[in-house]
Amino acid sequence: MFHVAKATFIRNTRVMIRAYPWSFVIGHIFSGVYTVLFAFFAYHYVFAGQLDENFAHFTDSSDYLSYAILGGAFYAFAVSTLMNVSRSLITELREGTLEAVLLTPSLRRGYFLGNVAQQLMRTLFEFSVIVFVGALFGLTLSHTNVWSAVLVWILSTGAFFCQALVLGSLMLWFRDTYITQNTLFAVMAFVSGVTFPIPYLPEWLQPLGLIMPLAPALDAFRQCVIQGAPLHAVSPQLFHMAALSLVYLVIGVWGIRKMEKRVMESIFG
């Protein structure tokens, strides 16, 4: 399995460097930086630093800038992970290499592991740049519980990976990446508490946030960074994330298998 993972990692890195130089990486960094800029402008120049009184009650903190900047950075990280993993198979299909991948006796687990490892390198870079820019615009990192934050970040990668498997199957089903992924991303940005706390939403919409791993992941990460919470303090969010991951993993693995078979029959059959 690790041979396959290593080979996939090296191949994807070469593809990234040679064929698609930077466009996705720069795109994700920019979209994170824009969220930072919006929060900064709105907070300082339009609202003169005055917040709604419920905000502190909903978030246990009155640090809006850190709240919004971390939201933007983590959202960019989620989108990046979801995109890189879920698009892997359909990209093979488009580039004409899916047949070769399916014909080899390589384990699919290794293939996806290699993909995740490769994209982890990319997202880590993107995330660091956004957080660095955020720090220039008012993100406070002095209370951060570093180890808890790192662990939450790694666990979140796992959760997004499981969600990406489901997304990947849907993409193969619809033979489309653009509409499927962007619809999910738009809904995620709306219901997961990226730029505003979820309780501001109407009550009937709030459960939608519960099925997105981004919501508990972001909540836990914010607590570790803004309030310096230790890992056990965010265990409810971690359990929530683990349960969601399990459900997505089961559906995703089933979906990918089903879709592979369908693609084999409809294209190569």
Partner: protein, 271 residues
């Protein structure tokens, strides 16, 4: 002139067939803009609202939904064109770019036909939504019965000119999706779609003046929210006209350069 018209029509029909082959297109026409609009509205929830909110220095609290609605309507007009120009790279992938440039078709009919088609098809659904929503929000102050048609015309013309300019930019590179990111989201932040540009610091104001959408939105808000008279709007209109003139000139010059460049390097179909 007749030939130009038929070329324009041909490009519109081609683009229509290209994008409406699947029902999924309605997601990008209505579902995304509506979700983005609602997300933008809720992004203001953490701030202090009400009559004594600092926001009142720029717009009244009651007019915030209208402010965002006009902002998003303008943005969707322009966004459709960014998207369509970005899809110009598909012509290359499909190998049809070469055919277009080998044929004696007028390049501007092709460029502006492409813009016009994607614009009309891209905005009609959200436009209906915006019209409906306008009935339910407070704070509308029309300059007259002619204000909505004039606002539409301003958006239409300025967006088509912007779209033509972008199409030419996308002719220069095979991996132009990067430009998509550089041009799309800054427009959302700096053009006054979600925040009033008057609130920005000087450096951000300078960036906002680079986007024609800034001028178009200012005019539209004067027409729909402030009830300004035509005479009062003349300076803003002159400014928008000047910006559009610069863009058209740049489009003409760059198109010639791009074609020359592609002929020289032979990368018209290389992807």
């Amino acid at each position: 002139m007749k030939q130009l018209g038929s070329l324009l029509l041909a490009e519109i029909i081609k683009e229509h067939r290209h994008s409406f082959h699947s029902k999924m297109i309605y997601f990008s026409l209505l579902v995304w803009p509506v979700i983005n609009f609602v997300t933008a509205y809720y992004s203001f929830a953490p701030f202090r609202m009400g009559a004594d909110s600092p926001l009142a220095r720029f717009i009244s609290y009651e007019q915030l939904p209208l402010f965002l609605l006009t902002g998003y309507l303008g943005y969707i007009f322009y966004w459709c064109l960014v998207q369509s120009s970005w899809q110009m790279s598909f012509e290359r992938q499909a190998g049809t770019m070469e055919m277009i440039f080998i044929s004696p078709v007028n390049r501007f009919a092709f460029l502006y036909g492409r813009s016009l088609s994607s614009l009309i098809e891209g905005v009609w659904l959200f436009f209906c939504f915006a019209l409906l929503a306008l009935f339910f929000v407070d704070g509308i102050q029309l300059s007259g019965w002619w204000a909505p048609p004039l606002a539409f015309l301003i958006l239409l013309v300025s967006a088509i000119v912007w779209g033509g300019f972008l199409c030419v930019l996308f002719l220069f590179s095979r991996d132009a999706s990067f430009l998509y990111t550089v041009l799309d989201e800054p427009m959302l932040i700096f053009s006054g779609v979600r925040l009033p540009p008057m609130a920005f610091p000087v450096w951000a104001k300078v960036i906002s003046f680079c986007f024609p959408l800034t001028y178009a939105l200012q005019l539209i808000r004067e027409l729909l929210m402030e009830g300004a008279s035509l005479q009062a709007m003349l300076p803003s209109m002159g400014l928008l006209a000047a910006v559009l003139l610069v863009l058209v000139t740049a489009t003409v010059v760059l198109l010639r350069q791009a074609e020359k460049h592609m002929k020289k390097t032979g990368n018209m179909v290389m992807y």
